[in-house]
């Protein structure tokens, strides 16, 4: 292997620089290269009849044999987690913090073993596991040790969820484990985690860490196997939440499978992230950014910058620089310290990449690869650049999950934003420009959970990571990530006696005083309210509304799917509401309260007429509604973001952005207060909404649009469609241009909404048929509503003169 020194002196070639695999292989051998499951702090006996290989992708040779978990084993793991939850959830934060700290320390102490094992199992370069995966994993445990310590004070209103089922992918095996386990344990939950079947080894080594630090049995359980095992976890009745990272397709299946179960869900899914280079960027640095964006981990990264958008004037020069850079990339043995690209995870993935590249060529794009050849042993694919790609090309739309970059030019910042957002994904984006005005403006307009300015693929435990659109929902990291693992303490949610007016058939109807009946004068016909205009329902039908005494008190439009369509379009067209200053929005919310207050008696009378409550209750509900407008007007300019303390010279800006268009299906109780609360929360932070009032008592909501009209609410910010709630909610749930749906109705309706939302993986917030005390709105509940109304975008802005 050794070339003579004199010869190397002339060629100045790189030689091999291998990291030894021996300690990792010794560890595997000590386990006879065979592993069971880690359940309740014990290892199950491997059953020879259901072992499968974990393979080294760089050689194609098996590394170890792993057990396919059975239903019994998954049951046992969930039971162990359930049992452990009893004490773990009561364990003081400081003690939980000590365990998490110990995990961080153990990962650091055995960092090189983890790094080598990860590289062997996954095929990624040792440089990456050594310098990124493993240190970031340790950092995640450190950071969350701190959250465990602080939970009692910083999340005083929160309680753990219970048993968390966690399913992680093969691209960052230990790091994804850390992202899942650290926050779950910090918040007092216990877990059943399934590593990907292709890369289970570091998770199994981590189980030994749990043993070494004497983590109470059952707090962490690790079961291995393929997607069937994942399904067992997803469908398990004893699991309170599923946290999944993986493909959008599987995420969609999980959304459908868990619909209506009451299981909480967070999904971190695919992406087709844009990498935008303006003509005033530091181009050579942007080239290195591209390398880190798409050739990090062979492009098998959910947030890989796989769509290169280059300003037209510099595109040819940029492509030339890029090709020259690609020629310098080195591919080969992942354990060689001097290679840039390792192996692709497995043959199916390799074939998928090759197939999509073929398709790209067939569709007319220009493909370029470096002149050097890949190793013939193992699963390798060369870095690949496509130019002459149009947005219509398959390779510009689908996630390739490989070292393949597609490039296209743009003319203006506006066009860059439009192209960047021309995708159903929204995980991350990278923007390169030396003009801070331009860069921050574009960052604000990109639909992505993370935007890196003049940098890319930076991660830290202190900053949330997660997607917009079909890249999933929920955040991992930062304080925003903790809320995926807690619920509001029940004692604070429902402390007051119900003050909800009884329904007519509940038998307590009071006859409204005749002089209060709004119907006394000229016939008033509430219409739908769409785009700031009163609209007749498309159906041409009306629905009779009955009062508490059973008498008809009016009619509302029978809205249908076309009305919903129109309302969503109006809401989308009003998106500028989110760009208004928060101060402006607050002023308008106060003004709504002012105008509602002027009609207080009328709104109270309407409540009495509809629900038969006494007038004192009715007045109390109107008063509460006024209070809500003030509450959310107050929040409008105060629910702001943060600057995260990431280990980085720059600002990591955590921005609370509106979700977008939110559908809101209102409950029958509190027919004024419920819609006002939800409406105020949603629009205060800049969302536009399509609201379906109570099916039974819609008139309080329809009465509101006159108030909105007189309060300078821009057309389309609030749209109201009356009619059959669940039918209309389903249209909203399936609508691809609705970003979130809040549903307060039946259990069956909640399940329907969650299931139908899988269409575009919109965020949902449903009540599973539980009623809510609308008269109580604690600080924690306000915060919860505002979280539902926003999505966190983290913008990384490095600086340096």
């Amino acid at each position: 292997m050794t070339a003579p020194i004199a010869e190397i002196f002339q060629t100045m070639a790189y030689g091999p620089a291998p990291e030894s695999a021996k300690p990792a292989l010794d560890w595997l051998n000590a386990h006879e290269r065979t592993f069971g499951q880690f359940i309740a702090g014990r290892w199950t006996q491997p059953d020879p009849s259901r072992l499968f290989d974990s393979v080294n992708p760089a050689t194609g040779q098996p590394l170890a044999r792993i057990t396919q978990a059975t239903q019994d084993e998954v049951d046992a793991a969930v039971a162990a987690a359930r049992e452990a939850f009893k004490s773990w959830s009561q364990t003081p934060g400081h003690i939980r913090a000590r365990y998490l700290y110990a995990m961080a320390r153990h990962i650091q102490k055995h960092a090189r073993l983890f790094a080598v094992l990860e590289s062997l199992d996954n095929g990624k370069p040792i440089r990456e596991t050594r310098d990124l995966d493993i240190p970031l994993a340790a950092r995640h445990f450190y950071h969350h040790a701190g959250w465990a310590q602080l939970m009692d004070t910083e999340l005083a209103d929160c309680a753990p969820l219970g048993v968390i089922g966690q399913i992680i992918p093969w691209n960052f095996p230990l790091l994804m484990l850390a992202w899942k386990i650290a926050p779950a344990l910090a918040m007092g939950n216990t877990v059943v985690l399934k590593p990907a079947e292709w890369t289970p080894l570091t998770a199994l080594r981590f189980a030994e860490v749990c043993e070494a630090i004497r983590l109470p049995p059952g707090v962490v359980n690790i079961v291995t196997g393929d997607g069937q095992v994942g399904q067992m976890i997803v469908n398990h009745a004893g699991v309170d939440k599923i946290a999944f990272t993986g493909s959008t397709e599987v995420g969609r299946q999980i959304r459908i499978a868990t619909a209506g179960s009451g299981k909480r869900l967070s999904l971190e899914l695919g992406g087709k992230s844009p990498f935008v280079v303006f003509d005033d960027a530091d181009l050579d640095s942007a080239i290195e950014g591209v390398v880190d964006a798409i050739w990090f981990n062979q492009g098998q990264v959910c947030c890989a910058g796989s769509r290169l958008l280059v300003q037209e004037g510099i595109a040819p020069r940029f492509y030339a620089k890029l090709r020259a850079r690609m020629e310098k990339l080195r591919i080969g043995d992942p354990l060689d310290k001097a290679i840039d690209l390792g192996a692709i995870i497995a043959p199916p993935q390799l074939q998928k990449i090759a197939r999509l590249v073929e398709q790209g060529i067939a569709e007319g794009a220009t493909m370029w690869q470096p002149s050097w050849a890949c190793p013939t042993e193992g699963y390798f694919y060369p870095p690949t650049l496509f130019t002459d790609v149009s947005p219509a090309a398959t390779i510009a739309q689908v996630e390739i999950f490989g070292p393949v970059l597609v490039a296209m030019p743009f003319r203006t910042p506006a066009e860059a934003v439009a192209l960047a957002n021309n995708t159903r994904y929204g995980l991350a984006a990278s923007v390169w420009s030396e003009d801070i005005n331009l860069a921050l403006d574009v960052a604000g307009k990109l639909k992505a959970g993370t935007v890196w300015i003049n940098c890319t693929n930076l991660f830290d435990a202190a900053s949330g990571f997660g997607g917009y659109r079909e890249s999933g929902f929920g955040r991992e990291g930062g304080k925003e990530g903790l809320f995926e693992y807690v619920k509001l303490k029940p004692s604070r949610v429902d402390p007051l006696p119900k003050r909800i007016a009884p329904h007519a058939e509940d038998g307590a109807a009071a006859n409204p005083p005749a002089h209060n009946a709004p119907g006394n004068g000229i016939d008033r016909t509430p219409k739908l309210y769409i785009g700031g205009k009163q609209a007749r329902p498309d159906s041409g039908y009306s629905l009779a509304i009955y009062g508490a005494d059973g008498a008809a008190i009016g009619e509302v439009g029978a809205g249908n799917r076309k009305d919903i369509r129109n309302a969503v379009e109006a809401a989308r067209a009003a998106a500028a509401w989110g760009d208004q200053t928060a101060h402006n929005r607050a002023q308008i919310l106060y003004y709504i309260a002012e105008n509602l207050s002027a009609r207080r008696a009328e709104f109270a009378a309407r409540l009495v007429q509809q629900t038969g409550c006494d007038s004192a209750s009715a007045d109390a509900e109107v008063a509460a509604a006024l209070d809500r407008w003030f509450t959310f007007a107050a929040w409008a300019d105060k629910y702001d973001g943060a600057v995260h303390r990431t280990p980085f010279r720059g600002l990591t800006l955590s921005v609370n952005e509106p979700v977008g268009v939110i559908g809101i299906a209102c409950p029958d109780e509190a027919p004024l207060l419920a819609p006002v609360t939800l409406m105020a929360a949603a629009i205060s932070v800049g969302n536009t909404i399509v609201l379906i009032p109570s099916e039974r008592h819609p008139l309080s909501a329809t009465d509101l649009y006159q108030v909105l009209d007189t309060s300078d609410v821009p057309a389309g910010v609030v749209n109201i469609v009356t009619g059959a709630r669940d039918e209309l909610a389903q249209v909203l749930a399936e609508h691809a241009d609705v970003d979130a749906l809040w549903y307060f109705g039946s259990a069956a309706g909640s399940a329907m909404v969650e299931r139908a939302s899988a269409n575009n993986l919109k965020r949902t917030w449903v009540n599973y048929g539980q009623s809510r005390d609308w008269f109580t709105l604690t600080a924690a509940q306000q915060a919860e509503m505002l979280r539902q109304a926003t999505q966190v975008k983290n913008i990384w802005v490095p600086y340096g003169a």
Binding site: T2, A3, P4, I5, A6, E7, I8, F9, T11, M12, A13, Y14, G15, P16, A17, R127, D131, D280, A281, D282, L283, D284, S285, A286, E288, G289, K328, K337, A338, D340, E434, N454, C455, R649, G650, P798, Y799, G800, A801
Partner: protein, 319 residues
């Protein structure tokens, strides 16, 4: 493309190109920090690279207490930088292992020229008001002429940092042009003293203007400032060289100087050159280390490669 021994004739000052320069410090620092983690040279390759490093070295002494005695000693070391038995053991005894040049103050040029007679090792002289560059222009030019008269074949000039800080590119261009003219056939290295420039963008811009004005090499530092050769500065200068070559077809050399003392640092710099400029640049005609103490560490590493045991400085003849 011109040959390695060719000169950079320079091009007219192109202010649009200079003004269009953009350098992002954070991104440059990230690239510079990860370069040595992305490449590693071990064993025989390391030994061979270190031998190459010796041939890329401007063995330097630029001290106020330099005398003919220590300059002569330095020149003797330049001729025989590595113990013969080590070269033999490395299988490198037939390679032309000697340093690229000896770099001294102008007053020491005659001593060095005499000491190196017959060796083909050129003498490089620092000139033009080194290190501050604040003497009158005509005196700086005279200094160059003097050094050449005394037999220097390479001239390391310092630029006027004030022209860079003020964005006075025309003045900088004219100054370097004048130096270049005074240099005649001697190769000219322009020292940016990058540690005294305000931003990395200015480092790039100053590199560009010096190359446009005909510098054969651009050099990071005098070794006399608080910040000398750092990898981020070197990366920016290499990128300027690359851009200049792409646009003009002229290859300009690069010389980091100041603070490069360890063999590992030398390898990092060579990796930077190989990655950013290519193997072509890893020759004395296009790359030099300005170094005094580096050679001693390289000798120890070479002996370690031969014996497998760590070496000590006193085992190697001092400069």
């Amino acid at each position: 493309m011109n040959t390695h021994n060719g000169r950079n004739p320079g091009v007219p000052l192109d202010l649009r190109w200079v003004e269009a320069a953009r350098v992002n410090r954070s991104a440059v620092e990230r690239r510079a920090a990860t370069l040595p983690t992305r490449r590693s040279v071990k064993q025989a390759w390391q030994a061979a690279w270190l031998l190459r490093a010796i041939t890329l070295m401007d063995l330097t002494t630029l001290q106020g207490d330099d005398t003919p005695g220590n300059v002569q000693r330095l020149c003797a070391k330049a001729r025989r930088p590595v113990r013969g038995d080590l070269l033999e053991a490395l299988g490198a005894h037939e390679l032309p292992i000697r340093v690229a040049a000896v770099c001294v103050y102008h007053a020491m040029v005659p001593v060095a020229v005499k000491a190196l007679a017959g060796s083909d090792i050129p003498v490089a002289a620092v000139a033009a008001g080194f290190p501050a560059g604040l003497t009158p222009l005509d005196l700086r030019v005279k200094e160059i002429e003097y050094a050449i008269e005394m037999g220097a074949q390479e001239i390391d000039v310092v630029i006027s940092r004030r022209h860079v800080l003020a964005g006075n590119w025309g003045a900088l261009y004219d100054e370097i042009r004048a130096f270049r003219e005074a240099c005649g056939d001697a190769h000219m290295k322009a020292i940016l003293e990058a540690g005294e420039l305000a931003t990395l963008r200015q480092v790039y811009q100053a590199s560009l203007v010096c190359m446009m004005a005909g510098a054969d090499f651009i050099k990071t530092s005098t070794g006399k400032a608080a910040v000398n050769a750092t990898l981020p500065i070197g990366l920016v200068m290499c990128r300027a060289i690359r851009d200049y070559a792409a646009r003009t077809d002229h290859q300009v050399g690069f010389k980091p100087a100041g603070g490069i003392r360890a063999a590992k640092q030398a390898l990092d710099w060579m990796i930077l050159i190989k990655e950013e400029l290519g193997d072509e640049w890893l020759r004395p005609s296009l790359f030099r280390f300005g170094a005094s103490a580096l050679l001693a560490d390289i000798e120890r590493q070479l002996e370690h490669h031969v014996t497998g045991a760590y070496s000590a400085s006193f085992r190697h003849p001092m400069a």
